[in-house]
Symmetry: C2
Subunit: 333 residues, 2 copies
């Protein structure tokens, strides 16, 4: 008569039958409501244990007003250490709040991002953290429910309301380049990523700020954009080093670019100084003069998750908040 019990997981009703009480009483015991007598509570607990019962959280969160206790995270790609550390920070805070993390990668593809966001909506996550890709985020307005808080990480999104956690790119870059200038550099090259990327734009602006502050006119020939990967960055750096009056220092716009520039400077046996912008700490001393605008990607994640849970637990009344994380300038050689 119970032939299919093997496949079907025990339900709250099964527990109720087993312990001779009504379903609601079982529910009360599970949720620690105190209006249950000690004797019945014990009996229910025993039934739960003997049946190996676990509440079905999907069913529970069907009721209006119930949270799913899942938060969503959309990043570029877990294989990239930057995103991995970011996710690690998010996960740490989510865990501390008793939430599970529902995650997927956008692969830096705007369409994939949209699909993933919708999949998360369908799962009714309580909130979402997104490292946005592409420039059109209007879909968020129509796709994401108004009660679902959003936090954007590393890049702000203008079309949609949500909190934002970013690096202090412009000021950081300015300080770093300024320190190069203070050490006597005048011909400072900059190699940046995709010119449409928020971080690239801001860091380039900071570079220009520093030059302007020092009364140096920016030499457009020394600014190269579109370095997607280390190889391209290396080429660009070598090209600049081959010119009649090469730069005496490089500002590398991100970690991949920094690797390419390091290779170029090493290979050409130039004694150029390098300034990088990076989320990781190097191991050991490099062979060339190197300083780094260094920040912790995990901290980006932690702050983002913190903003999210603030909103979930506290008041949703406050307007959009923005956290900026200041990179530290570290001298390596």
């Amino acid at each position: 008569m119970e032939a299919n019990r093997v496949q079907r997981l025990p339900t709250l009703l099964d527990v109720a039958r087993e312990s001779q009480v009504c379903p609601k009483t079982v529910s009360r015991v599970i949720n620690g409501e105190n209006n249950v007598s000690q004797t019945t509570a014990t009996r229910v607990q025993e039934a739960i244990a003997s049946l190996g019962f676990h509440l079905n959280d999907n069913a529970r969160s069907l009721r209006p007003g119930q949270r799913s206790r899942m938060v969503g995270l959309v990043i570029g790609d877990l294989g990239n250490p930057f995103y991995a550390r970011l996710a690690s920070g998010v996960e740490e805070v989510a865990r501390a709040h008793g939430n599970l993390l529902l995650m997927s990668s956008s692969e830096e593809d705007a369409n994939r991002e949209r699909d993933v966001v919708i999949a998360l909506c369908r799962r009714r996550v309580d909130g979402m953290m997104i490292v946005p890709t592409g420039d059109d985020h209007a879909y968020l307005g129509t796709s994401v429910g108004p009660g679902t808080p959003l936090v954007f990480i590393d890049r702000p999104v203008s079309e949609s309301k949500g909190d934002v956690v970013v690096i202090e790119n412009r000021l950081g870059a300015c300080r770093g380049v300024n320190s190069l200038i203070e050490r006597g550099h005048r011909r400072i090259a900059m190699i940046a990523d995709n010119p449409l990327m928020y971080t690239a734009i801001e860091r380039t602006a900071g570079y220009r700020d520093a030059l302007t502050d020092a009364g140096i006119r920016a030499n457009e020939d020394l600014i190269r954009v579109g370095a997607h990967d280390p190889d391209r960055a290396e080429e660009m750096a070598l090209e600049l080093l081959d010119r009649p009056d090469p730069p005496t220092a490089f500002f590398a716009g991100n970690n991949r670019i920094c690797i390419g520039v390091l290779r170029a400077v090493t290979r050409s046996a130039s004694n150029c100084e390098i300034l990088g912008f990076d989320s990781v700490e190097l191991i050991g001393a490099p062979v060339v003069r190197l300083s780094l605008l260094s920040y912790d990607a995990a901290e980006l994640g932690r702050q983002a998750a913190q903003l999210l849970f603030d909103r979930l637990n506290g008041g949703a009344s406050v307007g959009s908040r923005r956290v900026e994380i200041e990179p530290r300038l570290m001298q390596y050689a």
Copy 2:
């Protein structure tokens, strides 16, 4: 009269009302069943768009026989590059199968692992991949439903049935140590992690195999266990180097240990050769003679997810399967 529509997300019933059809027809349209006329389908689509409706997957998966299209992953800690790469491989395959990844870290704590596994069960994940911690996994038998496939990664679990993906630790270690022997080494030290860890046990066994095969008697003084972190590994290596007859080569049992040994050998200006066991590829040439038993942690993740989806999609009839990933021996200097 619709004052609370702002907060409540539109439901399938709302769409049905809006488009003047019955709920089931909306369901048909959404799920791409073909027995709907073009005209009604269009009308429904429009209603869906205008209401900004998204299916509630939690409600959907309540029906028996429906999967949740979520798979669970329990790892040690996303901040560790090994686990991050592993997770990246899992996520890649999960995504290809249209599944979301529900993830949490155990922090290598057996109690936390148990809590996380139960949380995933409550979410009714279709299957789970676990990097197991601790030695008692009996709880899996009673906590996880019989229909939920399990895959264990990096370390097998005897108490519970499930597929397994591991590195070919023993044979790999044997080959690596053998290559040291072929290059003339006789006094080869081994520094290993926690002596209860599966990988440490296997790799140490492989080390002994190689010595035995070559007719060398293992010198127990040259075997050190319990190196949890680079610092401890460095200490142990320095201690060995300070002895009257120091080793001529080190076998470092994992990546953290390898870092410590590298530091020790570099600091003591010894010309010891090092063999490491590692999941990452080094950048640039190291200063000491180094070879690596190298493997891709992402591949562990991919294989694990593949085994899981095989079971979810195909037959569950086959017995436990075991995949072993062979490390490649790479010579660096």
